[in-house]
Amino acid sequence: MHIKPFQEFAKDKIGVAGLVLILFLFTTAILAPVIAPHDPWDYSASAFQPPSREHLLGTNDIGYDIFSELLWALRTSILFGIAVATITCTIGIVLGVSAALIGGMYDMIVMRLADALLAIPTIMVLILIAAYFKPSTTVLIIALSLVLWQTIARGMRAQTLSLKTKLYVKAAKNTGAPTSYIMYKHIMPELFPLYAMGFVTKARIAVFMEAGLSFLGIFDPTTKSLGIMMSYAMRYLDPCFGVWFNWLLPPVVALSLLIISLGLISYAIEEIFDPRLRRNNVTPI
C-alpha cells in the first residue's frame, strides 16, 4: 500500500465534513437515553402541542415528545446501518476472497448466486419477508444482509484475482507460504479500500431501506424509527394542524443528513484510493 489513507482523508474537505457530520449524529444517537428529555414511549402529554421549553419539537398525534422520539429513531437508523454493513461486508469478503482463492466449482456457484441476487429487486424481497414473517429488527437486519452482499463479493473476488498474479504473492507462494498466510498477510490488507467503501455504501443503503420499510408500515410498530415518524406526520399535513415543520421536517432532515454524511465519506474514500479520481491528479510522464 503506497497511500497513507488517514493523512489523505484528513486533507479531503468533503470527507472531513462527512466525518464530522456522522460523528455528531452518532454521538447524539448514542447519548439518546441521556439527552432525550422524555420517555419516547410515554404518551401522557396532550396531542399536537407546539414547540416549547418542555417539548422542544412539540408533541405528536398521540402525545409523544417529538424531540425524544427523533433521538431514539436516529439511534435505530444508525444501529441498523452499522449492523447491516458489518454482516454484509463479512459475508461479501468471506465469499468473494474464498471464491477467488479456491476457484473451480465453488467459485462458479458463489458467483452465479451473486448474479441471481443482483437480478432480484431487494426492496420487493424485504417487503415480502416483512409482510409474511415477524419483522423484528434482527430479522430485517439479517434479511437485508443476505440480499446485499453480492456486489461486495464480486469486488473482493476481482481484486483478489488481480492480486494473485502479483510478483510478491507468487514469490511468497514459491517460498512455501501457506494460503492462509498469503491471504492474511498479503491479500487482506490490500483489500482495505474495498472494505471501507463497501461498509459505508451498504450502511447508507441500509439506513435508507429501514426508513422506507418503516414508512410503509411493515416494521415493528413499537420501534422508534425515522420512517414511522414520517409516515404518521404525513397524515397530518393539512395546514390546520401546523405540525409539518416540527414533526415531519426533523426526521426528513435527520435522514437526509445521515445519508449525505455517509455519501460524502464514501466519495472521499473512493477518491483517495482511486488515483484516477483525484482532483490534483498529475499524470506522470
Binding site: 396531542a47 398521540i62 409482510a131 419483522p135 408500515g217 410498530p221 413499537t222 393539512d238 390546520c240
Partner: protein
C-alpha cells in the same frame, strides 16, 4: 392573398373564443351534476356479482339495482320495488306486491317473474351479500305479485334479503351461466334510479345518468360521478367535488367554510379478537380481567383524539334500537385485573406475571386496517401494549399485512388481534354472524367461532328464528348480556366518521338508519337523490334555487370582455381584408 388568409384565421379564432365563452354558461345552466370523492377509487364494476364485496362496492351498485324494500334516515323497511308486503306466519310466506310502473333501464317492465328468477338464480349462484338458505322458493301469483316461501322462520328476512338482494332482469340474466364473468352491457341493466354510463378501473371513476322513467320519479340530479381523489377533503375545499369524507380533526374547520358536515352514528366497531382455544385466553376469568385492564376511554382520547366513543361489550352498538339496557360493564380497574389474573395461578414477579417460571406473554397482531377498510396506520397496538403491560402481561406487538393477519386469525395462529367490522347498528343478526360460523359461508376473520356457551347458542338461535317482535327483542338483549359475560371478542371503541357536502349541489345526504342494506355505514343512500315525500319538496326547492343561482353565475361569466375582444379582432380582420382589396 396573405392578408385574406390572416383575416380568415382571425375570424375563425373569434368564432372559437365565442364558442368557448358560451359553452360553460349553457352547460352550467342545463345540467345538475353531483361529484363524490373517494380515496380508493376502484370498487369493482357496479353490477351485483362484480362489485367488490365491501360496503363501498355495494353502494356503487345500489344506484343501478333496486331491492324489494329499503331504508331511509329514520326508518326501515320502506317500500322500494315492492309497494306493500305481508307476512303470513301460518304458511311462513312473504307476499310482495311490486310497483306496476317499474321498468328496466332497457325499457322492459319489471315483473314478479324477475323477482322469482332472482331468488332461483341466487340460490344457484350464491351472491356474497345474501345467503338464501332460509328461502325455499318463490312463486309468481300475478304479474306484479310474488310469494316467497321460507324453509323455516327467519327473523332478519326483511333487512337481510328484502332490503339487500338486488333484483335482476330475467330477460338478460337467464342465459348467464357464470355471473362472475358477465361483463357485457346487460350486466349493468337494473331498475334503479340511475343508469350505468361509465366505469374506469384504472382511474377509479364511476358515472351514472338519471333514469327518466324511474317508477318513483326522475332523480333530482342528472348525473352522479365518483372520482378518485388522493385527498378527498382537499378536493371538496377546492370545489372539485360536492361530497367527501373529512378528517375528524378537520370537521369544525370544514363546517366553518359553509359545507354541511354530517356526523355518523356509531355502527363500526374496533375490536380485539381472542384465540379462546389457547391458554390462558380460554379462561373466561382471564378474558374478563383483560376487559378490566383495558381503558376504552384512553383509546378514544389518544387514538381518536376524542372523535369516538367507548364500545358496548355486548357487540351491538349502544346507539342501535336493539341495544340491551343492562349489558355487563367492565370499568377500567387494573388492580382488579391483576387480582383476577393472580387467581389463575400466576405470580407477580418484577412487574410481570409468571407461572411455572414462564412469564405471561401474549402476541398481539396488528395490521394496517383502519376505519372503513381504508389502510391507515393507527396507535391502537401501542396503546393496548402499554395498558396490558401495566397489569403484568408481556406483549409482543407484531405488525403484519392485513391479509396475513386475517389468515392467521382464521387458522387460529394468534393470541390477540386488533381488527374491526361494521354492521353493529343494523339487524342483530350480526351477533349470530360474529359468534357462530354460518354453515357454508366463508370464514370471516371477525367471526369469533365461539361455541363454548350453550346458553349463548340457544339465545342466538332464538334471535335468528323468533318471529314475534317482542320475544325476539328479549332474545337479542339477553344475547348481548351473555356475550358481554362470555367475551368471545372484546369491543374497544366506535370511531366517529364525518362526511361533508356542499349545499349548493341541492342534495341533502344523510346516514341511513342501521346503515345501507345490511348495515353499510356510508351516507350515500340513493333515497337522497330521489324526490319523495316532504323531504323531496325541500330538495326540489333547494335545487331550483341552486339552478337559478347557477344561471345567475353563468350570466355573470365574463362574456362582455370576451365580446369586446371578438369585436376588436373582427374589426381588425375587416380592415385587413379592405387593405388587401385595395391592392391591385
Amino acid at each position: 392573398m396573405r392578408r385574406i388568409l390572416i383575416a380568415s384565421l382571425i375570424l375563425i379564432a373569434s368564432a372559437i373564443i365565442c364558442l368557448c365563452l358560451l359553452t360553460p354558461a349553457i352547460s352550467a345552466a342545463a345540467e345538475r351534476e353531483v361529484r363524490i370523492a373517494d380515496k380508493a377509487g376502484d370498487w369493482g364494476n357496479p353490477s351485483p356479482y362484480l362489485a367488490y364485496s365491501r360496503g363501498p362496492g355495494y353502494v356503487r351498485m345500489h344506484f343501478i339495482f333496486d331491492t324489494l324494500v329499503w331504508k331511509n334516515e329514520t326508518t326501515g323497511p320502506i317500500p322500494l320495488l315492492a309497494e306493500d308486503w305481508e307476512y303470513s306466519p301460518e304458511e311462513d310466506v312473504y307476499v310482495f306486491n311490486l310497483a306496476e310502473n317499474a321498468k328496466w333501464h332497457d325499457g322492459e317492465p319489471v315483473t314478479a317473474d324477475d323477482v322469482a328468477f332472482t331468488i332461483a338464480y341466487m340460490k344457484e349462484h350464491p351472491y356474497g351479500w345474501t345467503v338464501l338458505d332460509s328461502v325455499d322458493r318463490a312463486e309468481v301469483i300475478g304479474p306484479h305479485t310474488v310469494k316467497i316461501y321460507m324453509s323455516g322462520p327467519y327473523a332478519p328476512f326483511m333487512e337481510d334479503i328484502g332490503g339487500t338482494m338486488p333484483i335482476l332482469p330475467e330477460h338478460i340474466w337467464k342465459d348467464v351461466a357464470n355471473p362472475m364473468d358477465f361483463v357485457e352491457a346487460g350486466a349493468f341493466i337494473g331498475c334503479g334510479p340511475f343508469k350505468y354510463a361509465d366505469f374506469s378501473k384504472e382511474h377509479g371513476t364511476y358515472r351514472y345518468e338519471a333514469f327518466d322513467e324511474y317508477y318513483l320519479g326522475r332523480p333530482i340530479i342528472d348525473r352522479l360521478i365518483y372520482v378518485k381523489a388522493g385527498d378527498p377533503q382537499m378536493a371538496l375545499q377546492h370545489g372539485e367535488v360536492d361530497f367527501a369524507d373529512v378528517k375528524p380533526d378537520m370537521a369544525d374547520t370544514i363546517g366553518g367554510l359553509g359545507f354541511v358536515v354530517i356526523e355518523g352514528p356509531h355502527y363500526w366497531n374496533k375490536n380485539l379478537m381472542i384465540n379462546h382455544n389457547r391458554e390462558p385466553l380460554d379462561n373466561i376469568v382471564f378474558r374478563q380481567a383483560l376487559c378490566y385492564a383495558i381503558n376504552q376511554s384512553e383509546f378514544v382520547d389518544k387514538s381518536l383524539r376524542g372523535h369516538g366513543k367507548p364500545a358496548s361489550y355486548g357487540l351491538i352498538s349502544s346507539e342501535s334500537v336493539w341495544a340491551s339496557p343492562n349489558v355487563p360493564d367492565y370499568p377500567y380497574n387494573p388492580d382488579k385485573a391483576k387480582e383476577m389474573i393472580s387467581t389463575l395461578g400466576y405470580v407477580w414477579e418484577d412487574g410481570v406475571f409468571t407461572k411455572d417460571g414462564k412469564p405471561l406473554q401474549l402476541q398481539v397482531l396488528v395490521s394496517m386496517i383502519g376505519v372503513g377498510g381504508q389502510p391507515t396506520p393507527d396507535r391502537d397496538g401501542e396503546i393496548l401494549k402499554n395498558q396490558l403491560e401495566k397489569v403484568g402481561i408481556r406483549i409482543d406487538l407484531t405488525s403484519l399485512d392485513t391479509k396475513v393477519v386475517d389468515t392467521k386469525v382464521i387458522n387460529w395462529d394468534f393470541d390477540l388481534a386488533i381488527s374491526g367490522h361494521g354492521g353493529i347498528g343494523g339487524d342483530p343478526k350480526i351477533l349470530y354472524e360474529k359468534v357462530v360460523q354460518v354453515p357454508g359461508a366463508k370464514t370471516s376473520p371477525n367471526t369469533a367461532r365461539y361455541n363454548k356457551s350453550e346458553e349463548l347458542n340457544e339465545l342466538l338461535d332464538d334471535l335468528m328464528h323468533e318471529m314475534d317482535p317482542e320475544k325476539r327483542l328479549a332474545a337479542v338483549h339477553e344475547s348481548q348480556n351473555v356475550y358481554a359475560r362470555e367475551l368471545p371478542a372484546i369491543s374497544l371503541y366506535y370511531p366517529t366518521w364525518y362526511y361533508a357536502y356542499s349545499p349548493d349541489a341541492g342534495v341533502e345526504w344523510f346516514y341511513t338508519t342501521g346503515g345501507i342494506a345490511k348495515g353499510i355505514p356510508i351516507p350515500q343512500n340513493k333515497i337522497a337523490l330521489i324526490g319523495d315525500g316532504a323531504m323531496s319538496g325541500e330538495i326540489a326547492e333547494a335545487t331550483e334555487t341552486t339552478a337559478t343561482e347557477t344561471g345567475t353565475a353563468a350570466e355573470a361569466t365574463p362574456i362582455a370582455p370576451g365580446l369586446a375582444v371578438i369585436a376588436i379582432l373582427t374589426a381588425f380582420a375587416i380592415v385587413q381584408m379592405k387593405r388587401s382589396n385595395r391592392k391591385p
